[in-house]
């Protein structure tokens, strides 16, 4: 690892609604709390995606920016190169769908994704809006996932990915699972933002780059998690 951790936020000009900036801020804060210097690059959609980053983030957005974002990422190729090098990626909502082979456009028409995850998405019948809680794949060793979802998408997982979690409440992918992962690429429908609600997920991304991390004082994260999970799960 180089001396500072490089975080790349992809296309905040197109895909950064629903507080997705929070994922960047949480990664920075949790790295800093461990004495790790970070450098964050905001990549506008008119600029090339750097290939040498450590952790890449891409967020949610409306239909049209999603289509534009997918086109530009495909044309650019920088993200593909970075992932092949072993960089980590967290893709949220519209950004998650973009990583698949196909997703639903403004009128439900199929739009090609960029194929970094073996998933395909389409438009569901109803908008999934609300709190979500889910048990994470035990292989990842993470506590219950919590967040807020707001999307029309239904996502089918192919054999090349594993479900990130199984839903306890909420819709997620639409088949009882939420999100998926393959290698160091994680996709999720969760806002909240996802890493603020799930600091262990932030630490997982960080540790893929830095190796094992010492625990830090993070009682505000835990207090919020406890409150949100209590609000949606039967005790």
């Amino acid at each position: 690892m180089q001396s500072e951790l490089s975080i790349v936020w992809i296309y905040p000009d197109l895909l950064s609604t629903y507080g997705d900036q929070g994922n960047v801020l949480v990664l920075e804060q949790r790295a800093r709390a461990r004495g790790i210097q970070t450098r964050t690059v905001h990549v506008r959609s008119s600029d090339p995606v750097p290939q040498q980053g450590d952790i890449y983030l891409i967020g949610g957005g409306e239909d049209r920016p999603q289509i534009l974002g997918a086109e530009r990422l495909r044309r650019d190729g920088g993200l593909h190169a970075a992932i092949q090098r072993g960089a980590a990626l967290l893709a949220v909502c519209a950004g998650y769908q973009i990583m698949g082979t196909v997703f639903g456009g403004e009128e439900g028409q199929p739009v090609p994704g960029i194929g970094l995850l073996d998933i395909s998405s389409g438009r569901g019948e109803r908008r999934a809006v609300g709190e979500l809680a889910a048990e994470v794949d035990p292989a990842l060793g993470l506590p219950t996932l919590t967040g807020f979802e707001n999307h029309m998408g239904v996502t089918r997982l192919g054999p090349g990915v594993r479900p990130l979690s199984r839903t306890l409440t909420g819709i997620g992918n639409g088949d009882g699972t939420e999100g998926c992962y393959a290698g160091r690429v994680i996709g999720t429908y969760l806002h909240g933002p996802a890493l603020a609600r799930n600091p262990a997920l932030a630490d997982l991304l960080l540790s893929w780059v830095t190796g094992p991390l010492p625990p830090i004082e993070d009682s505000w994260y835990q207090a919020l998690r406890d409150e949100r999970l209590r609000a949606v799960l039967p005790s």
Partner: protein, 424 residues
């Protein structure tokens, strides 16, 4: 206006009774419930009540209520004005507002952004005033580009005159299908939703405009203008220009605003109000004194007193609103922040992460509201020291007597207002 058909007269009378009841029982301002009763009885009521008046519709993500109030205040110079002063900004509220003042020759209606096409269609309003569009209450899926597109369709092919803020690219795009537009350079503080061209998706370049104004920082002066790098969509030439405290009218005359309402966002609202007033024949010399009479709007900007503490109440419903509130808040004073996530607030608190709270470093910050833990974590990550309080009352009690700023989102603000008996 008194020549309404009998059924409509009955419906509007019943609506007024329900509104009176609602106020008397303390259940609300009464404006929505009255209108709902009226609309149920006579779906065409709004159309009939709107006819034969000079009607202004006011819409935006932020500043609707305040701008409606400012325009109303100005037009009172010309005659009686019917208005939905309590922010009941959907058709039921409009019926209630117009029914309660049937003979007023002017109407100024605050309109929810999503309802603008419908209300325009029903009322055939001659003037529409559009100020800004930004992310708001996202769990209700207000996709703002789609919203602007609906405005375009609603305005096209209609004999309507639009007064619009050309510093907001999305508003410009939404307004530009109208037959006639008066552009006002009213400024844009929140830019996170306008990096891309609404016409083609290309990048918007910001560049120096240099309209030589007082009160703007060099940085603001440097990037007021905008243009798409890939298509012909660009900022139209404004007829009215706001520069800090001063508004320049289409004749090049400068007017010092000097309004009572604080902050640059309200100066923007006032600039737009002046343009609307002039369109209706009221020049700035007569409109300005009226704008200066407005001191608070539905409790916003009001100062209330409790146990030797003077609390100034600021409403912030979305990230752009928080920036405006920070602009008004005094860095030398302690500040209480209260956040809820009930239906009208949006149940998703993610937007807290779109707000840069670091500006609050260095002042005592107290955090309360139903979603105080969301805000607490947000501030902790931003490195802003704060104190968590179980209630607003507790927060007030923890602070020494003196001046205090309060910023709250929608239902949190209403709860605080209710504590002070809505007297504010």
């Amino acid at each position: 206006m008194s020549q309404l058909p009998l059924r409509a007269q009955l419906a509007s009378a019943l609506g007024r009774t329900a509104a009176t009841l609602s106020r008397a029982t303390g259940r609300g301002d009464g404006s929505v419930i009255g209108g709902r009763v009226g609309l149920m009885l006579e779906p065409d009521l709004l159309r009939k009540l709107a006819a034969d008046r000079k009607l202004v519709l006011v819409s935006a993500t932020n500043g609707k209520t305040t701008t409606t109030r400012l325009i109303t205040s100005a037009l009172q110079e010309l005659g009686d004005v019917a208005t939905n002063a309590f922010g009941a900004n959907m058709p039921a509220g409009h019926v209630s507002a117009l029914a309660s003042n049937k003979d007023a020759p002017y109407g100024v209606l605050e309109v929810d952004e999503k309802y603008l096409p419908e209300v325009l269609d029903t009322t055939n309003a001659g003037l529409v005033c559009l100020m800004n569009l930004s992310r708001d209450q996202m769990d209700r899926a207000a996709e703002i580009w789609l919203l602007a597109q609906k405005w375009r369709r609603a305005l096209a092919g209609r004999p309507v005159h639009v007064i619009a803020n050309c510093d907001d690219p999305l508003v410009t795009w939404g307004a530009s299908t109208a037959a006639r537009v008066t552009w006002v350079a009213a400024g844009q503080r929140w830019r996170e939703d306008s990096w891309c061209c609404p016409e083609c998706g290309g990048p918007l370049d910001r560049s120096g405009f240099g309209n030589g104004g007082q009160g703007l920082t060099a940085a603001q002066m440097a990037d007021t203008n905008w243009a798409c790098r890939e298509c012909t969509f660009r900022r139209p030439e404004p007829s009215w220009v706001l520069d800090g405290e001063y508004v320049t009218d289409p004749r090049g005359q400068h007017w010092r605003l000097d309004i009572q309402l604080p902050g640059q966002a309200n100066r923007a609202n006032a600039a737009v109000a002046l343009a609307v007033a002039e369109t209706l024949g009221l020049d700035p010399a007569r409109a300005l004194p009226r704008l200066r009479m407005v001191t608070s709007v539905a409790g916003r900007y009001t100062t209330v007193e409790r146990d030797g503490r003077s609390l100034r109440l600021l409403l912030a419903k979305n990230p752009a609103g928080w920036l405006e509130a920070f602009d008004v808040a005094d860095p030398a004073l302690p500040i209480i922040l209260s956040v809820n996530a009930q239906g009208p607030d949006g149940r998703d608190t993610s937007w807290l992460w779109d707000v840069d709270y670091r500006i609050l470093r260095g002042r005592p910050v107290l955090v309360t509201g139903e979603r105080r833990l969301d805000l607490a974590l947000r501030l902790a990550v931003a490195g802003v020291p704060f104190q968590l309080c179980d209630s607003f009352e507790q927060a007030v009690g923890l602070l020494a007597p003196g001046k205090i700023d309060v910023i709250a989102n929608y239902t949190a603000f209403q709860q605080i207002r209710a504590e002070f008996g809505r007297a504010v």
